[in-house]
């Protein structure tokens, strides 16, 4: 693909599959084999099941606040799938699909949302940073990881996520500028899901799109249809290649939509019309990707039914395995602030334990 054909200043948007699942850009169908396509589809199924289950657990009072991803699967899965084994992923907090593709176990993810810090401790070799709650702050970490790669002469690149809301933050500006100046090998992906909680994308900025903000840093930027798995995958792959070849960072705006609530504490009917949601429901990345697979005889419907059943079972079992078994160990609250606990912390821990032992 050629970035130059999609200049954000001309408000171009890059698409391969339109929302009906039709190929609009035949040359750009990525050369993925059937196994790969099926894998991507399976990841979509997986994320949606994880989301749905989490929401239903939450309604049952079994799960805490949860931030759903429905509608943004292509933006997440398509981008993460373009990464190489050694690449780093720097998430914001709504990157379920990307986490799964990069090998974060569901157990970690649920444990995190269930309120235990061990959810952020990744298995060996999974180069995924913990959730970063302060909006946009993680972008600077991504830039720094890439700068270190340059200094160490390492080839891995970094893919970092931020929301449309995050683009307004000072840290966004500084992270992109540092990345540009130091040619840090980072691909910044804006998941523009049109809202920051209740705040419409239109309130964040009056620039016509978010990708054009790249101009401020002398960087390439592109708007991609974030609900189009192939467009996201291709653009990210191209940007990753550039980064790996020493051509520096890229800004990608994945134009998408959060079909659900901001989190389970949020009621989106307060700030947006059903009509708008319905329009976007037709553009669901799921529908069009499935249609493409069906049209191209890649999808076996029996496999699909079976896979769903298996995934559902796995998701339920994973949740149940942590549900009654995830209280924080008291020592863990104290133990990880420094390599060695300070005398102060030791004393506070000891005092608390002796209080507990002395009865309430």
């Amino acid at each position: 693909m050629d970035f130059k054909k999609y200049n954000p200043l001309e408000n171009k948007i890059y698409q391969v599959l339109n929302h009906k699942g039709e190929v609009v850009n035949k040359d750009d169908i990525p050369s993925l084999n059937n196994d790969q396509l099926v894998y991507l589809y399976k990841m979509m199924l997986y994320t949606r099941i994880i989301d749905d289950k989490a929401l239903s657990y939450q309604r049952q009072g079994r799960m805490l606040t949860y931030a759903p991803n429905t509608g943004q699967e292509a933006a997440q899965i398509g981008s993460a799938y373009a990464m190489d084994k050694d690449d780093w992923l720097v998430p914001a907090f709504r990157e379920l699909g990307a986490w799964l593709v990069r090998g974060v176990p569901l157990k970690n993810i649920y444990l995190y949302w269930y309120g235990n810090e061990w959810g952020s401790h990744m298995p060996e070799g999974v180069k995924v940073l913990p959730v970063s709650v302060p909006i946009a702050s993680q972008m600077q970490h991504a830039t720094g990881i890439g700068m270190a790669n340059n200094i160490k002469g390492e080839e891995s690149v970094v893919v970092a996520y931020v929301g449309d809301g995050g683009t307004s933050h000072g840290d966004f500006h500084e992270a992109l500028n540092f990345a540009a100046v130091f040619k840090s090998p980072v691909v910044f992906i804006i998941q523009n899901n049109q809202y920051a909680i209740s705040t419409s994308r239109k309130i964040q900025t009056i620039s016509e799109n978010l990708a054009q903000k790249a101009v401020a840093y002398g960087l390439p930027g592109i708007v991609v249809d974030g609900n189009d798995m192939f467009a996201v995958y291709n653009a990210t792959k191209e940007a990753i290649d550039r980064a790996r070849n020493g051509q520096g960072p890229t800004l990608i705006e994945a134009y998408t939509y959060r079909l659900g609530a901001h989190t389970t504490s949020d009621d989106p009917t307060k700030y947006r019309d059903d009509k708008e949601v319905e329009e976007w429901r037709e553009k669901d990345p799921f529908i069009r990707f499935r249609k493409y697979l069906v049209d191209n005889n890649v999808l076996d419907e029996n496999w699909e039914v079976e896979t769903k059943t298996n995934l559902e079972k796995e998701v339920m079992e994973t949740f149940e395995s942590i549900e009654n078994n995830s209280d924080t160990e008291i020592l863990d609250i104290f133990k990880y602030h420094y390599e060695k606990m300070t005398p102060q912390l030791q004393e506070q821990y000891d005092d608390y334990m002796s209080f507990l032992e002395g009865g309430k």
Partner: protein, 326 residues
Amino acid sequence: MANTLNIIQAINQALMVEMKNDKTIVVYGEDVGIEGGVFRATVDLQKTYGKERVFDTPLAESAIVGTAIGMAINGLKPVVEMQFSGFSYPAFNQIISHVARMRNRSRGQYNLPMVIRAPYGGGIRALEHHSESTEALYSQIPGLKVVIPSTPYDAKGLLISALRDPDPVLFWEPKRIYRAFKQEIPEEAYEIPIGKAKVINEGKDITVVSWGAMIPDVQKALKLIEKENVSVELIDLRTIAPIDRETIAQSVKKTGRFLVVHEAPKTLGVGAELISIVNEKAFLSLEAPPTRLTGFDTTFPLPRGEKHYIPSPERIAKTIMDIVKY
């Protein structure tokens, strides 16, 4: 008229009545407009006063505070919300370098009548950064006032005072008890003076100072030791900066014993300042070491650990008894 409200409703009402009285007040921040705030503190304000005076902003705390400085200089009274106190840090530079200093820098030419509101504190089973108690960070900055209410009545009266104060006020709201209980309070505007602590219970054996969401927990602790024949003087600090040293010193001179309970970490918390004040003003009256019972010197834990963090009524009760028996 009867008007029975919880803390969040009292805050909303304070804004509602005072915006009517004072046309210079404008309210803005992330999600405070259409949505009325993630905790509903600003609900219906936009409907009532229009989008000019109540509006949503881009996601950028430094600019929210930084533009408020400009507004205050230019004759308005901005009331801005930090969605959680843990997200006030991107605005830290504007707060410490300008909000706190503009009056002194300009030798009184530019005062900044503005209010920064934020929910603070833990215990609502929230994600990281949503549970912290940051009063010590801000209370040490010359030029700021820091206020924390613990009841609906105080919340409304203190917020109205903050809105009428010529100096910048940080109004930190105890989110854990936003909806914990209701009180009957006046519908109209009334003030509670900033800088004055409130003696909730008089007592003669020990002075216990606390504020915000810890007050109900201390009260539960007092229930637990009701039968122990200990007379506790309970003081709600209410204003963290400037501290009402007089009320505390008087109390400790009477009781000779002192406990401060707060949910923020221990080291360099407000408890340390109170103990120093007690030493400075009532040293010769002390019959036991002035003591602090606080959160640990750790990050506030995620929900599966949070019950350990906030001093429980049981720990408070035990600590009071330990001091009294000293």
